[in-house]
């Protein structure tokens, strides 16, 4: 996954951030809203699609289902964390360049 020019969508970025702690579907929606101070509302359809895509990419994994709950929990993988770090570096570059040119 060395596509450094492949920016993450805002939804994927926040989903990955949220999954640094294990969460189930609805928990992810609440956490991403919380992280973005209520600005980002991820639709259930988008989240559902994103979760399966991220699993296919190996950026997140499903945790073993707890016996008393049918809810599936997800968590970020090492590969996912690496993608997040690359994205953070890309975002920092964007901000640095913006500041350099606009605030001189």
């Amino acid at each position: 996954m060395n596509n450094s020019n492949n920016a993450l969508t805002e939804a994927v970025y926040y989903i990955l951030l949220a999954l640094t702690t294990p969460l189930h579907g609805y928990g992810i929606m609440q956490r991403t809203a919380e992280l973005s101070s209520g600005r980002l509302v991820i639709s259930a359809g988008t989240l559902y699609g994103a979760l399966s895509t991220l699993m296919e990419k190996g950026w997140i994994k499903q945790l073993d289902i707890v016996a008393d709950s049918r809810r599936k929990e997800y968590q970020i993988t090492a590969a996912g964390r690496e993608v997040l770090e690359q994205e953070l570096a890309r975002l920092e570059e964007l901000v640095a360049n913006g500041e350099k040119i606009l605030k001189l």
Binding site: G25, A33, T46
Partner: protein, 193 residues
């Protein structure tokens, strides 16, 4: 509670946004959708105005190899009820107090939905063509056995001309409008994303 109201209405698959708007307006006026029959008969139940918000969904079952049931379970987990199904179309609702389904002006969701409606239109079209091909095949088969039949040829020609007419007048413009909408959204997302 309990008072029902039945309304005739019709929306094409390219008009899902208009349909959503109408259902939400009904809900704001205290009429909550509880069932849809044959795509045109909408059943509402009187309730608290503004209690629910509605949304249409067209989950692609083949997408990511997930089955429809898993998706519906996921929706339930997110506090979203599946009110009813019409073919692959889902009529969803949730409590308005729990917040909106998605962001205001969420272009990506809109594009995805338009794309799904477009794929649905193509699937329907190919199913129709396949049915017609099978019909012609059996027609030829029957004629090989019993010899030429004016009546049978007339029926097949009639259905064929009817199908072509319907496709040209209704289906092709419908698919065209979906495609144009999709292109417009792609251009917009290209700038804003």
């Amino acid at each position: 509670m309990g008072t029902t109201k039945k309304v005739w209405n019709f929306f094409t698959i390219a008009q899902w946004e208009e349909e959503e708007q109408w259902l939400n307006e009904m809900a704001r006026n205290g009429y909550n959708l509880v069932d849809v029959k044959c795509f045109v008969r909408y059943v509402f139940e009187q309730g608290t105005p503004g209690e629910y918000i509605y949304k249409l969904d067209l989950p692609d079952n083949l997408e990511h190899g997930m089955d429809g049931k898993a998706y519906c379970n996921f929706l339930a987990e997110c506090g979203i009820d599946v009110v009813c199904k019409q073919k692959q179309w889902l009529f969803l609702r949730k409590k308005a107090a729990d917040g909106p389904f998605n962001e205001q002006g969420d272009m990506f969701s809109k594009l995805k939905m338009t794309n799904k409606a477009y794929s649905y239109a193509i699937r329907t079209l190919s199913r129709l063509l396949r049915t017609f091909a099978i019909l012609i095949f059996f027609d030829i088969l029957v004629m090989c056995v019993i010899g030429h039949s004016e009546i049978l040829a007339g029926i097949v020609n009639g259905i064929g001309i009817g199908a072509i007419f319907a496709l040209t007048i209704v289906w092709v413009p419908l698919m065209d409008s979906l495609r144009k909408k999709m292109n417009a959204l792609i251009n917009e997302i290209g700038v804003k994303h």
